[in-house]
C-alpha cells in the first residue's frame, strides 16, 4: 500500500471520527479538527514506522507508543496534544471501527449459525476466562505492589 493511498483512507476515517463526535456529542467540526488531525498524524507515522523498521510490531503498538511519547510529561507539545485530543470523545473514533468490522464479518453469519450452542458457550467461557483471569492477576499484583 502506498503512502498516498493510506493518507486518503485515514482522512476518510478522520471524517468519520468528526462526524461521530458531532452527531453523538455535539462537538463542532472545527473544534474536533485539531485533535482528529493529531490522531491521524500518529496513525500515519505508525504506519510508516511499521513499514520501515526491521522488527515487526503490530501497527497499533506504534500508535500507542507514539501517543504516549507525545503526551508524556517531557514532551514539549504534551499540553497541546492532550488539550486538542480531549475534544474527541473517546467513543467517537469507535463507530467507524464498528461499521467496518460489521461489514467485514458479514460473510461469517452462516458459519456462525452453524456453530451450535456448544461453540457459543465455549466462546463465552473463553472470553470470560481471559478477562477474569487477567482482572484477577492485575488486582493481586496491584495490591502487592501498593499501586492501589
Amino acid at each position: 500500500m502506498r503512502y498516498k493511498e493510506h493518507i486518503v483512507l485515514l482522512l476518510i476515517v478522520g471524517l468519520g471520527i468528526i462526524t461521530a463526535n458531532f452527531v453523538g456529542f455535539k462537538v463542532a467540526f472545527l473544534e474536533s479538527l485539531p485533535g482528529t488531525l493529531i490522531l491521524l498524524g500518529i496513525a500515519f507515522i505508525a504506519f510508516i514506522l511499521s513499514k520501515l523498521l526491521p522488527f515487526k510490531l503490530p501497527i497499533v503498538a506504534y500508535c500507542s507508543i507514539l501517543g504516549l511519547l507525545l503526551a508524556c510529561p517531557i514532551s514539549p507539545v504534551a499540553s497541546y496534544v492532550i488539550e486538542a485530543t480531549s475534544k474527541i470523545n473517546f467513543t467517537a473514533p469507535l463507530t467507524i471501527v464498528g461499521a467496518f468490522a460489521g461489514i467485514s464479518i458479514g460473510s461469517e453469519v452462516k458459519t456462525f449459525a452453524k456453530q451450535g450452542w456448544k461453540m457459543v458457550i465455549l466462546g463465552l467461557l473463553v472470553m470470560t476466562g481471559t478477562f477474569v483471569g487477567s482482572a484477577f492477576i492485575s488486582q493481586i499484583v496491584l495490591k502487592l505492589t501498593h499501586a492501589i
Partner: protein, 284 residues
C-alpha cells in the same frame, strides 16, 4: 504484508466507495441513537454506537441484505485495522498524560498477560466434557484473535482439528465478542471484587474492538477514573499485542496440551460417545 490489491488510490476508491458511504450512514444512525442502558441482573448492559454500527454492518453483508458482496467484505476487514489506529493513538495519549499511574502499575501490566491464560483453566475442561478432542486445544488456548489463529495454523496446519477449534471461537468472538466484553466488564464491576484499574487492564486482551467495548462500559461506570482506565487498558492492549504471540507459543499452547493430556482420559468420556463425532463433522 505488502500486497497491492489495487493499482491506484483511485481504483481503490472506486472499488470501496460503497463501504465508505455506508459507514457514514451507519455513523449518523448509530451516534444519533447514542448510548442505551439496560439493567440486567447485577450488571447492566450498556449499548454504545459501536454495537449498532457493527450490527448494521453485519446485516448488510452477503448473507442477509446482500448490499455488500464477498469482495467488499474482504476489503472492509483491511479497513478495520486502519480505522482502529486513531483510537489506539488516543489511548496512548491517555497513557502519556497519566504516566505515573502507568509506571506504578507496570508490574501488574506485565504480569496480567499471564491472567489471560485463565481461559485454559475455565474453558478447556468444559470443552473436553463436551466431547471435543484436539479442537479443544485450539479453541481454548487463547481468545483466538488473528494472531492466535496464525499461530495455530502455523503449528498444526490450516486443516487441523486444532485450527477448526480455533476458527470456531474466532467466529463466535467476532459475532458476539464485542457486546459480550462490555457486559462482562459491567458484571465484574458489579461484583466489586476488582479495582477499576484492574478491570481496565483486563480489557486489553489482544482484541482491539473487545477492549474498546469493555473500556466504554468501564468509563461509564467509573467516570472519575476514566482517564486512568483508558490509559491502562491501552497499555495492556499494547503489551498483549507485542507479547501475545510469545505467550501463546511458549506458555499457552504447551500448557493447554499438558492439561488436555491430563484431563482428556479422565473426563473425556463422561458426556457420552455419541457427541464426539458430531462436532468433528461440522464443516468450516
Amino acid at each position: 504484508m505488502e500486497n497491492y490489491t489495487y493499482c491506484s488510490t483511485k481504483e481503490r476508491f472506486k472499488a470501496e466507495y460503497k463501504i465508505y458511504i455506508a459507514a457514514f450512514i451507519m455513523i449518523i444512525i448509530a451516534d444519533s441513537i447514542g448510548q442505551i442502558k439496560l439493567p440486567i441482573g447485577p450488571g447492566q448492559l450498556l449499548l454504545f454506537p459501536i454495537f449498532y454500527a457493527l450490527l448494521l454492518g453485519i446485516i448488510q453483508g452477503p448473507h442477509v441484505l446482500k448490499i455488500f458482496n464477498e469482495k467488499e467484505v474482504k476489503a472492509a476487514s483491511k479497513l478495520v485495522i486502519i480505522a482502529i489506529c486513531p483510537f489506539v493513538a488516543k489511548l496512548g495519549i491517555s497513557a502519556g498524560s497519566n504516566l505515573s499511574e502507568v509506571i506504578s502499575a507496570g508490574p501488574a501490566l506485565l504480569l496480567q498477560e499471564i491472567g489471560n491464560l485463565g481461559t485454559i483453566f475455565l474453558a478447556l475442561p468444559f470443552a473436553i466434557l463436551l466431547g471435543l478432542k484436539r479442537e479443544a486445544v485450539g479453541a481454548t488456548h487463547s481468545i483466538n484473535r488473528e494472531t492466535n489463529l496464525a499461530l495455530i495454523s502455523n503449528l498444526y496446519g490450516p486443516d487441523s482439528d486444532e485450527m477448526r477449534g480455533s476458527l470456531s471461537i474466532y467466529i463466535v468472538g467476532g459475532m458476539i465478542g464485542t457486546i459480550y466484553f462490555g457486559f462482562l466488564a459491567t458484571i465484574c464491576a458489579a461484583t466489586e471484587l476488582f479495582h477499576p484499574y484492574a478491570l481496565g487492564m483486563a480489557s486489553g486482551v489482544g482484541a482491539g474492538i473487545m477492549m474498546a467495548s469493555a473500556t466504554s462500559s468501564l468509563v461509564e461506570i467509573y467516570p472519575a477514573q476514566a482517564d486512568q482506565i483508558l490509559a491502562l487498558a491501552g497499555m495492556s492492549e499494547t503489551i498483549s499485542g507485542i507479547t501475545g504471540i510469545y505467550v501463546g507459543l511458549f506458555i499457552a499452547i504447551p500448557l493447554c496440551n499438558k492439561l488436555y493430556n491430563f484431563l482428556e482420559p479422565k473426563i473425556g468420556n463422561l458426556w457420552g460417545k455419541s457427541q464426539k463425532t458430531q462436532l468433528k463433522s461440522e464443516d468450516m
